[in-house]
């Protein structure tokens, strides 16, 4: 990445803006929408009204007041569904990412710190896991566990823990070689304590950066799962199910696909940018 | 319109000034001429600017160099007024470089053969057979046994001395009018150094190539050059025939440099560094020259 700071001062501002403030702004917006959905949403997201079906958004001919982004094939307000969809998106991504992070980091710490057969077993496990196509695996897991919020979260955690495990294992190995760990290491019981008190804080920045990235991934996976109708039950509005619907109705009601897509796009982009930015910020190797 | 003037000199550098973006000069009014087939040493301590002169001629100055003034004529061609493409072409056809570090100057993932023949076929327009023949001829000339095997080898399979000899062969292959040798013996051990110097001298005489030889070692100067230019802080301190400079150095700095060079044949002498007072005096002169230069620039 070009070192922008040596160029014109204007560019510095823009670079940080793009990488930090813009994503935070969007996520804040989404979070607000999720929290205050009942207050903000203009319509009931579940209310069907066949008289109002397939109305276009406000800037086009034939739109109805109060239905800002149009309606879908069952007359439900797109904007309201997007706002309520934000709830599920954020909730799922937060819980799923955290679960994945805890699970993956724990395994990574153990593998990197204790080495030996623990490392071998975990590494072999990672290899096997990474031989699965992620999306297919997620679909498979949800099919196995049945649909529902818990299944979705578990599925995400089960497919992507390897991301955390690999990175944290590598970092742990680096940290474990350093002097301060050697001096603290005496017996078996002591070793566990060192892991938590000394190494964990040092790998925490990487964990947080990965967490941001993972939230973006979780949002996508949930969207994909609801796209193939394997997420939570079909009543509650999710961006993925809206997109699935929109895909089918694309030739006569393209707005049903466009707006949830934009919401999804911006959210994923924001999490990714934040995650990448944090990763670069904390990585001493780069530059 | 031709950019050349009928000229007797192979290389003509007139009042060359090179400065960093903030204005600090790296070369201060450097002028020198090179006759055809002449070997001129550029000598000075680190940072004296001797490498910069060679780089300026070849057009490979570092990107941070922002301001260049003065004229450079290569066989009468005014390099400084050409477009970058023309200049690159002219320099390529008439000159060559023998670099300092033979390890990094060869592409590690390409075989030796193409590294020598590519410029000959692509830039000089030779046929493939002619280029191959010339490559073999020169590899033989630089005492490399089994030239065909070497041409099919990769750089990491060869020794440092061998690599430098390959680079010398590559430099002389198109029979250039000028070669810039940028401290080519510094990265080599002493026994190999002598061979390399002799090789360069012999080849240069055979092809009639003028050589600008950059070095910090007065011993090397004595062995290889006919003329020598002594540099300090980017300024030319002394410029004369090598023999004259060694027998009767005009400038005290030159004397000091010669004295500081260890000579193996003479009995152990106390190490004589360049006197501090002399350095201070030279710095004063440099600053004065800079002030004058800045004044002229403002008018």
């Amino acid at each position: 990445m070009a070192d922008v700071s040596t160029n014109s001062p204007r560019l510095i501002l823009t670079d940080t803006n793009f990488r930090l403030w813009l994503p935070l702004f969007w996520i804040g917006l989404i979070a607000a929408a999720a929290l205050f959905a009942p207050l903000i949403a203009p319509q009931d997201p579940l209310a069907q009204d066949l008289m109002m079906e397939r109305l276009p958004p406000f800037f086009m001919e034939g739109s109805a007041p109060g239905y800002w982004l149009g309606t879908d094939s069952l007359g439900r307000d797109v904007l309201s569904r997007i706002i309520y969809g934000a709830r599920i998106a954020l909730f799922v991504s937060l819980i799923a990412a955290t679960t994945t992070g805890i699970f993956g980091s724990a395994l990574g710490l153990i593998a990197g710190y204790y080495g030996g057969w623990a490392d071998r077993v975990i590494s072999r496990l990672v290899d096997i896991w990474m031989a699965f196509p992620p999306v297919l695996f997620a679909v498979l897991l949800v099919a196995v566990m049945g649909t529902g919020l818990g299944s979705v979260i578990a599925a995400i955690a089960l497919i992507d823990w390897t991301r955390f495990a690999r990175v944290i294992r590598a970092e742990t190995m680096v940290q474990a070689r350093m002097d301060y760990v050697d001096s603290a290491r005496i017996g078996g019981a002591r070793r566990a304590a060192t892991l938590v008190s000394e190494i964990l804080p040092n790998v925490m920045p990487s964990i947080i950066a990965l967490l941001m990235l993972e939230m973006g991934i979780a949002v996508i996976v949930e969207a994909i799962l609801s796209f193939v109708n394997l997420s939570i039950s079909s009543d509650d509005p999710t961006w993925g199910s809206m997109i699935a619907e929109g895909r089918g109705a694309i030739h006569f009601a393209w707005w049903v696909l466009l707006f949830p897509l934009i919401a999804l796009f911006m959210t994923v982009l924001s999490f990714s940018t934040l995650g990448e930015g944090l990763k670069q910020h904390f990585d001493p190797v780069l530059k | 319109m031709t950019m050349t003037t009928a000229h007797a000199h192979t290389l003509d550098i007139i009042n060359l000034n090179i400065a960093l973006p903030r204005g600090q000069r790296l070369l201060r009014n450097v002028s020198l001429q090179l006759e055809p087939g002449e070997v001129r040493a550029l000598v000075g301590e680190s940072g004296a600017g001797k490498s910069m002169i060679g780089k300026a001629v070849l057009g490979i100055l570092p990107h941070r160099i922002k301001r260049t003034e003065g004229e450079i004529l290569l066989e009468g061609a005014h390099l400084n007024v050409m477009t970058p493409a023309t200049r690159r072409n002219t320099v390529a056809k008439m000159s060559a470089l023998i670099p300092q570090d033979p390890l990094t100057a060869l592409n590690p993932v390409r075989k030796i053969g193409p590294q020598i023949t590519d410029p000959l076929t692509r830039i000089h327009g030779w046929s493939h057979q002619r280029a191959l023949a010339r490559a073999r001829e020169l590899l033989d000339r630089v005492h490399i046994r089994a030239p065909d095997r070497v041409m099919h080898s990769y750089p990491h399979e060869l020794s440092g001395g061998m690599r430098q000899r390959i680079l010398i062969a590559a430099a002389f292959a198109p029979s250039p009018r000028l070669i810039v040798a940028d401290e080519p013996t510094t990265a080599l051990d002493v026994t190999v150094q002598k061979q390399i110097l002799r090789l360069i001298r012999e080849l240069q005489r055979e092809t009639g190539t003028a050589v600008l030889f950059v070095t910090h070692d007065m011993g090397v100067v004595a062995k290889i050059s006919q003329k020598v230019t002594v540099l300090f802080a980017g300024r030319v301190i002394e410029d004369a025939a090598t023999r004259t400079v060694f027998e009767n150095p005009a400038h005290p700095y030159t004397q000091a440099l010669i004295a500081a060079t260890p000579t193996p044949n003479v009995s152990a002498e106390p190490f004589q560094p360049v006197p501090a007072a002399l350095i201070t005096e030279l710095h004063r002169e440099t600053l004065a020259a800079d002030a004058l230069y800045a004044q002229r620039g403002r008018r």
Binding site: M1, A131, V144, G146 | R122
Partner: protein, 335 residues
């Protein structure tokens, strides 16, 4: 010595595949929902269900079922699909060419696009162009293939419908090929209408898969190119008369390509994984699409066969990438 490395890798590959087989086997059989029950009409008796169960071997213990299945696999028999009533091996191999063609085209697009952007970025290093390209590739990288697919569906389905957004080929064309490699065999037979239709249908799904990888290649390759361009041999090339672009392509690229290719190899497997959802999105009749249907319908034998094939594909590709890296690096070749 090289042989030993290959042997060891093959061994670990087999172990990994075995692990995958076990995991899949256990997973699908733990699933709620009885596929047999779904197959029979309502009003079927217990006896009917039991009979069908026996046919598919579901009445035996887990371990027994696994051994039977494994035995079959070693003979090339992957069982019969519950929903499609055909041998799994046939079904899977029938759809495999479509996915392979899609993935290969996507990979080529990614290499071409990413390579060009990297070379341009290196050529224009230090200028605003490079910064612009960096920002763009950063943004493109953050958007997963699924989203790109949706964007393309919107743009080319609604806004500017020049390309079709579903299917693998125009259904009106009569294709009587021996293999399912439409592009490959189409070219061999000179059936350019088939090739053209396949490519135009494939363009968008392939681009969806290619873009994130292209961005990754652009960033990494440019980084490696810039490093190579600081080396002395590039300076020498410039003195010898080669233009900056020529120096990049002739000298720097070979050095920069090796580490880039190592990454591309790994990412290629992720790209293939992405075909699962992208094929679904574009109704592309490939392996991924079939896989989703299989999962939704709890078609256990088919699920096993597909997942195992994907896993095998991934491990084979990883092996090939490692081997070719060793082969292409002159230092490793002789070491």
């Amino acid at each position: 010595m090289l042989l030993k490395t290959v042997f060891v890798r093959l061994l670990t590959t087999v172990i990994t595949l075995f692990g995958v087989a076990v995991v899949v086997f256990v997973l699908v059989r733990v699933a709620p929902g009885n596929p047999i029950a779904m197959m029979l009409p309502p009003g079927a008796t217990e006896k009917d269900i039991a009979a069908l169960n026996a046919v598919y071997g579901f009445d035996k213990s887990l371990a027994e079922q696994f051994i039977i299945w494994l035995g079959g696999v070693l003979h090339g028999d992957f069982g019969t699909s519950i929903t499609l009533r055909q041998p799994v091996a046939e079904l899977v191999l029938g759809r495999l060419p479509a996915t392979l063609e899609l993935s290969s085209v996507a990979l080529l697009l990614a290499l071409a696009l990413g390579g060009c952007v990297a070379v341009i970025g290196a050529r224009k290093r230090g200028t605003g162009t490079e910064v612009g390209l960096d920002l763009t590739s950063g943004a493109v990288l953050s958007v997963p293939d699924f989203l790109w697919g949706l964007i393309f569906v919107l743009v080319f389905g609604v806004l500017w419908p020049v390309l079709s957004i579903s299917g693998r080929v125009d259904p009106r064309i009569d294709i009587d090929f021996t293999t399912n490699f439409y592009i490959f065999e189409g070219l061999l037979r000179g059936r350019l209408d088939v090739v053209g239709s396949t490519l135009s249908h494939m363009l968008m799904p392939a681009m969806s898969l290619a873009l994130p990888l292209a961005a990754m290649i652009a960033q990494l390759l440019k980084q490696n190119l810039k490093e190579a361009l600081t080396q002395d041999y590039t300076t020498l090339a410039r003195v010898r008369g080669f233009s900056e672009t020529a120096v990049i392509l002739r000298e720097a690229l070979r050095n920069a390509a090796l580490p880039t290719l190592a990454l591309v190899g790994v990412q290629f497997t992720f790209l293939i994984g992405g075909t699962v959802i992208v094929e679904r999105l574009f109704a592309f009749e490939g392996l991924g699409n079939m896989a989703i249907d299989a999962v939704i319908n709890r078609d256990l034998p088919l699920i096993q066969g597909i997942v195992l094939l994907f896993a095998a594909l991934f491990t084979v590709i990883n092996l090939l990438v490692d081997l070719s890296y060793t082969f292409l690096n002159p230092r490793l070749r002789h070491g």
